[in-house]
């Protein structure tokens, strides 16, 4: 309401600066997100093999998607991964963050924790691929040295997905912990002191104070990690390529397979649009459910 009273010139200049600051990401958004998204959406109504002109097929690709058992399987496999990845990773990260907050504020430890996250995904996947190799992997050498049967890990239908989830938990838990740790710093110490005076124990303080006050940070962490988790691709591309059989053929790998192995761009973009709708829905529900925009500190 006060902006009315300000001199027009100042307001104009302010707006100008604002646009100048926003411009780089706005341009990036338009070129790298908005335009490709619209093109992708249009593409999903065609059959296109990249080399010959696209053929308009109406909603045929969407009709096909609803009857596609492989797509449903890909969704199931992806969901299985998310359900393994997110709870373990978040719990682990929360634990690490609380421990750090309690026992050590060392920057070195924080540095070590984010180290796996700083490594390129491809490198992480390759290292683990070798460590977990069924025949000559380091881990299997240890397992055999202890007198157990060696494990196929990424080579078996049952173990492949949990193994990939474990690799990515290893990579992301430290980084997630740092985010939560930062959130812990925003909780005023007086609240804990007051609780202590009232005779609350550690457990009560954790569930009564820490968790509720961390909510905005936790929601941010959950929203971003769940979206990231649904987009699992690079680890799979390096280690299992969707296999064995279809045990790790997640939605992103399925899209890749249609786009760049089978060269069916139309159907590949149709799956992408479906995934987009699913992610938007999940995020919307999360934001509503967790009331992300308000904090209990207010």
């Amino acid at each position: 309401m006060t902006t009315h009273r300000q001199p027009r010139l100042a307001a104009r200049r302010e707006a100008l600066y604002a646009w100048a600051f926003v411009a780089p990401s706005l341009i990036g958004f338009l070129i790298f997100f908005a335009v490709p998204s619209v093109r992708g959406l249009l593409m999903s109504f065609t059959n296109w093999d990249l080399l010959r002109p696209a053929k308009f097929v109406g909603v045929a690709n969407y009709v096909r998607l609803f009857g596609d058992a492989d797509f449903r399987h890909a969704l199931k496999v992806t969901g299985y991964y998310v359900l393994m990845n997110i709870p373990i990773q978040t719990t682990l990260a929360l634990g690490i963050a609380v421990m750090m907050d309690k026992f050590s504020k060392s920057t070195i430890i924080r540095g070590i924790l984010v180290l796996p996250w700083l490594l390129p995904n491809i490198v992480v996947a390759l290292i683990w691929l070798w460590l977990l190799d069924p025949t000559m992997g380091f881990l299997n050498q240890i397992i055999m040295g202890l007198g157990f049967q060696r494990q196929p890990f990424l080579g078996s239908i049952d173990q492949a997905m949990p193994t990939i989830a474990a690799i990515n938990i290893w990579r992301h838990a430290g980084y997630t912990a740092i985010l939560i740790y930062a959130g812990l710093q925003t909780i005023p110490k007086e609240v804990y002191e007051a609780a202590a005076i009232d005779g609350a124990n550690e457990q009560q303080m954790f569930f009564g104070i820490t968790i509720p006050l961390l909510r905005p940070v936790l929601v941010f962490v959950l929203v971003t990690t769940i979206i990231g988790s649904f987009q699992i691709f690079d680890t799979i591309a390096i280690t299992t390529k969707g296999g064995p059989v279809d045990a790790t053929r997640v939605v992103y790998w399925y899209i890749y397979e249609y786009a760049f192995v089978r060269f069916k761009m139309g159907y590949a973009t149709t799956i992408s649009v479906a995934l987009f709708v699913i992610l938007i829905t999940i995020t919307f529900i999360q934001m509503r459910y967790f009331n992300a925009n308000s904090s209990d500190l207010d």
Binding site: A20, L51, P134, Q149, G155, F260, V261
Partner: protein, 476 residues
């Protein structure tokens, strides 16, 4: 409102300036047409005289032809060819570009879209029909007729594989067959002779005498072989046989020889529109093949094979026998710590059968120098180049004189590769690689199904029926 317009103008001007900077960077070198420091830049110059009737030396401008191949072992051979070619045609330089199988095909296909595919590239029978149907390959027939190239000079049948509806999409450069690879030390220790191996028979019920040899060559930690009642298949230290994996749609080095020698046929020939994957003869073959690991324990599990590859397991001394293609001879014999030999495929119910596959060079329609590309392709599939390639002893060229050169080169290395050549020349000893449409879709379908059979998730009969339905649905 006006402020918003101004802001928009600012944003646009920033965007425009960014675009200008981007364009400037790319445009700068092109703005100096007089310099042309390297051959690549010179290729941009328009061709003044592209007389259709002219043969070599159609233009005196220096041109660089990019030539793609995936087999790193063959790169030195083709670089030698390229040098010989440039010597005879000083205005044309050939740049040989190599990338591994997977990256190679991705690169070719995306290169066609982005206008950066090589001028001439090594083509495969599973791939070319789709490129041809997408109009990406130059029809070589007019060039062949014009220059009078003798297409009869190639070994039986190889040339015919590369044509469709009177058009020709490639000239053959090499061929390959399959044979049994053996570890001489392990044979000696088990008391199996090479003669026994060469005369073995096979059937899908119990593996025949070849199956017995596999068992004899499989040892557990207690030194018992798989013929022994006390054999412990959970503690195998030496496998009798190392399968090459599930083999996907064609099982070229994995199961095609077993299946066809059992009476199976893939389809009704060139450009067939129906596959017969549901043939019970294939099902019993594949079940035998999968059971080597699943039931008998005489072969490693699929996970082990996938992690290292059959070749590495074999050269690492994990097993006594495997089957593989003639292009792999070098990979088995180079730097291997034990003596490796090649034996004939066992005699199945229908005799010995090997897939006969051949590669050819094709010209991409997007090539800006099709005449020069043709000159190179013609040279690469002529005796002059194929003899050079043969002399490297890495592959069997498609012309007999090249094959002779290759045999001499292998002999000089102390290798007996007659198991491959005898198979190729034997009456009815070979069947051709299945060439049909939809190969890039058949691949993923059959890969997954074959793996699920190998892992024991599905029986061969059920899995192959499922695969057959999915594959044949592609042709409807």
């Amino acid at each position: 409102m006006r402020s918003r317009i101004n802001a928009l103008a600012l944003a646009l001007s920033i965007a425009a300036s960014m675009l200008l900077v981007a364009c400037g960077g790319a445009a700068a070198p092109a703005a100096e047409p007089t310099k042309a420091p390297d051959a690549a830049a010179a290729t941009e110059a328009p061709m003044a005289t592209e007389a259709p009737a002219a043969t070599a030396a159609a233009s005196t401008d220096a041109v660089t032809i990019r030539y793609g191949l995936w087999d790193g072992n063959q790169q030195p051979a083709y670089e030698a060819c390229a040098a010989a070619f440039t010597k005879a045609n000083p205005s044309i330089t050939v740049k040989v570009e190599q990338a591994g199988w997977g990256d190679y095909w991705n690169g070719v296909q995306t290169g066609m879209v982005s206008d950066t595919a090589p001028d001439v590239f090594t083509n495969h029978l599973a791939k070319y029909p789709e490129f041809a149907s997408k109009e990406q390959l130059v029809d070589l027939k007019p060039f062949i007729d014009r220059d009078g190239v003798d297409t009869k000079q190639y070994l039986a049948g190889l040339g015919d594989l590369w044509g469709r509806d009177g058009k020709v999409y490639g000239l053959p450069k090499d061929w390959d067959t399959i044979a049994v690879v053996y570890n001489q030390d392990m044979l000696d220790k088990a008391g199996v002779t090479v003669d026994e191996l060469n005369n073995a028979d096979w059937n899908a019920k119990d593996g025949g005498s070849f199956g017995q040899i596999i068992k004899k060559l499989t040892l557990d930690a207690n030194g018992k072989n798989a013929l022994d009642k006390a054999f412990d298949k959970t503690k195998v230290v030496q496998y009798g046989f190392i399968p090459g994996g599930g083999g996907g749609a064609y099982g070229q080095t994995q199961w095609s020889h077993w299946a066809v020698s059992n009476g199976f046929k893939f389809n009704d020939g060139l450009y067939a529109t129906k596959y017969y994957y549901d043939d019970p003869k294939l099902a019993e073959t594949i079940q035998w093949y999968a059971n080597l690991n699943l039931v008998d324990g005489v072969a490693p599990a699929l996970a082990d094979i996938k992690s290292l590859g059959a070749n590495a397991l074999f050269t690492g001394g994990k097993g006594a026998l495997t089957t593989d293609g003639s292009w792999m001879i070098g990979s088995y014999t180079k730097d291997t710590k034990f003596k490796v030999g090649f034996a004939r495929l066992p005699k199945g119910p229908e005799g010995r059968k090997s897939m006969f596959n051949g590669l050819a060079d094709s010209i991409w329609v997007g090539s800006k120098h099709q005449e020069q590309a043709w000159q190179w392709l013609k040279f690469a599939s002529s005796p002059a180049c194929e003899n050079i390639v043969g002399s490297y002893g890495v592959v069997f060229p498609a012309i007999q004189s090249g094959v002779d050169a290759a045999l001499a080169a292998y002999k000089a290395k102390g290798l007996d590769v007659s198991a491959f050549t005898a198979q190729a020349t034997e009456a009815n000893g070979t069947f051709l690689f299945p060439v049909t449409d939809h190969a890039s879709e058949i691949g993923p379908i059959m890969d997954a199904l074959m793996d699920s059979i190998m892992l024991g998730e599905k029986t061969a009969a059920a899995g192959l029926k499922e695969g057959n339905d999915q594959v044949n649905a592609l042709f409807k």
